[in-house]
């Protein structure tokens, strides 16, 4: 059983815009899961991801990958990123500008295999672009190249650092599909850094909610973010974009999935601890929702 979890117990002092902050994390990640590291910017998500990758050293603690020790401050063990068999997809994708798309993917292979490169190019719809350099690609295309390259390494863990943050809403949905597909087909343990609640619900089976360097809650997205006492028939998660006061009531605009707008009526008492930017659940109890198949 020990063999199928990543056990993380680390502490690291970080220097943030608001002064020093301790990142102190104790958690386990089950193999084969898609785990979201969720939190505001500056919560320590990316640092934790870099610690997992071996690019940032914790001040103290241990990281066990199954039976393998990746980091142990007491025993002075620190396995370099090269030997951790991970792939990290960077926020800026970090495609190598000197190489073509094809060369970028081939570079990541542990052993050269042109059939696999072709297969990856085909899988991500990049065959037409294979001879181009990354500078000639759109954001979405770059992201697919980065994902293909990360997979070419045949990693045991795929680490994704806010992979979709720089894309528009439509592109984002498409690439969420892509990530989900990859996870389903390849079964690679995936850790995804995000500050987008939609992404968490859409993709993750486990979420680690970080706040100011420590874990606030961890579990399934539903258990972490929804109040279990709600027995609503419809639950939609979104973010408050606007609160407009109209006479005795307020109209709250909630954005869902970056594209859908829901307007909800709320009384002053409902709004006591709500403000713009809060992540909220919109639910309905009284009416039976109607399901309608899209063409």
């Amino acid at each position: 059983m020990e063999n199928d979890v990543i056990d993380i117990r680390v502490r690291k002092r970080m220097l943030t815009a608001h002064g020093p902050m301790d990142l102190a994390v104790e958690t386990t990640i089950e193999m084969g899961k898609l785990v979201a590291l969720f939190g505001d910017s500056g919560a320590g998500k990316t640092t934790l991801l870099r610690i997992l990758a071996g690019l940032t050293d914790p001040d103290e603690g241990q990281i066990h990958f199954g039976d393998t020790v990746w980091f142990d401050s007491e025993k002075k063990i620190n396995v370099p990123p090269q030997q951790r068999n991970i792939s990290l997809m960077f926020q800026d994708y970090a495609l190598f500008p000197n190489m073509t798309i094809e060369e970028n993917i081939a570079f990541a292979q542990p052993r050269p295999n042109s059939n696999e490169v072709e297969e990856l190019l085909r899988l991500f719809g990049l065959t037409e672009l294979q001879k181009r350099k990354p500078s000639g690609l759109s954001g979405g295309q770059r992201q697919r190249v980065a994902l293909a390259r990360a997979l070419a390494r045949k990693p045991q863990i795929l680490l994704l650092d806010e992979p979709l943050s720089s894309l528009n809403a439509e592109m984002r949905l498409m690439l969420q599909d892509e990530i989900e597909k990859v996870h389903r087909q390849w079964g690679i343990t995936t850790v995804l850094v995000t500050h987008d609640l939609n992404e968490v619900f859409r993709l993750a089976s486990q979420v680690i909610h970080l706040e100011n360097g420590s874990i606030k809650r961890t579990g399934t997205p539903e258990s972490v973010f929804s109040d279990t006492s709600i027995s609503g028939k419809v639950q939609i998660t979104g973010q408050i974009a606007r609160i407009d006061r109209q006479d005795v009531i307020n109209i709250v605009t909630v954005i869902v999935g970056g594209t859908q707008i829901i307007k909800v009526i709320a009384f002053d008492s409902d709004l006591e601890n709500l403000k713009i930017g809060d992540h909220v659940t919109v639910f309905s109890k009284a009416f039976n929702p109607i399901v309608y198949k899209l063409k």
Partner: protein
């Protein structure tokens, strides 16, 4: 005079080319180390590398001469063990020229490496590639303009070197008499025609080299904007 002219130019070229090759071999690993090291004395090392740019050649030339002298322990050791004397020889001038041109090789390489996003290097590491594979296949190909600038600047600077050669090498035809020294010598002898030939050639070589650097950098700038 003709054969002497050719000999001097050949020697000038040989000194500049050898300096550039040696500095490229030494400079690449050194610049890589300097760009990513976290040791505390890094500013001191950077300052030492840049010293030749601010010090007059006579100062460094003087120290090099003192070290080469058979009366210093290093000079004595060289003489006794290898039977080598460095002062007023081509080899001696070459070593001095390498030291003196160091910043012209290191600084462009160092700046080029620092300007690359860290994620390129880290991505290569996470893809399982060693430091040296990363350096030669990812980093170096992406700082080509810096490499060309470093090589051309080092070569141009070595060709034009005057003070350090005069201090360490003197003016020995076929051994240490390079073009810049020959110009000085010919002017002293009121032989303006020969001085003019040397000067014109040095002027043209430097112009061509610097124009190459600027056009390469311009090409890459416009490429980057696309």
């Amino acid at each position: 005079m003709d054969s002497e002219f050719v000999q001097t130019l050949w020697l000038t070229f040989k000194l500049a080319a050898s300096t550039t090759v040696i500095l490229l071999l030494v400079g690449l690993p050194f610049a890589r180390w300097l760009a990513y090291t976290r040791i505390r004395v890094k500013p001191l090392i950077e300052a030492l590398v840049s010293m030749p740019m601010v010090l007059p050649p006579s100062v460094i030339g003087y120290y090099i001469l003192v070290i080469y002298s058979p009366r210093s322990w290093f000079g004595e050791w060289l003489g006794q063990v290898f039977d080598v004397r460095l002062a007023f020889t081509f080899e001696g001038v070459l070593i001095a020229s390498v030291i003196f041109s160091l910043p012209f090789m290191i600084q462009p390489l160092h700046n080029g490496l620092r300007a690359l996003p860290d994620s390129l290097r880290e991505a290569s590491y996470t893809l399982g590639k060693s430091k040296w594979t990363t350096f030669f296949r990812v980093l170096l190909p992406n700082i080509k303009p810096s490499v060309i600038t470093a090589v051309a600047l080092t070569f141009a600077h070595s060709i034009g070197e005057f003070g350090i050669v005069l201090m360490v090498g003197g003016n020995m035809p076929g051994e240490t008499r390079v073009a810049s020294i020959a110009i000085y010598d010919e002017v002293q002898a009121l032989n303006f025609k020969a001085a003019n030939s040397y000067a014109l050639i040095l002027f043209l070589i430097s112009l061509v080299l610097l124009t190459t650097i600027y056009s390469v950098n311009r090409k890459y700038d416009s490429w980057k904007m696309m």
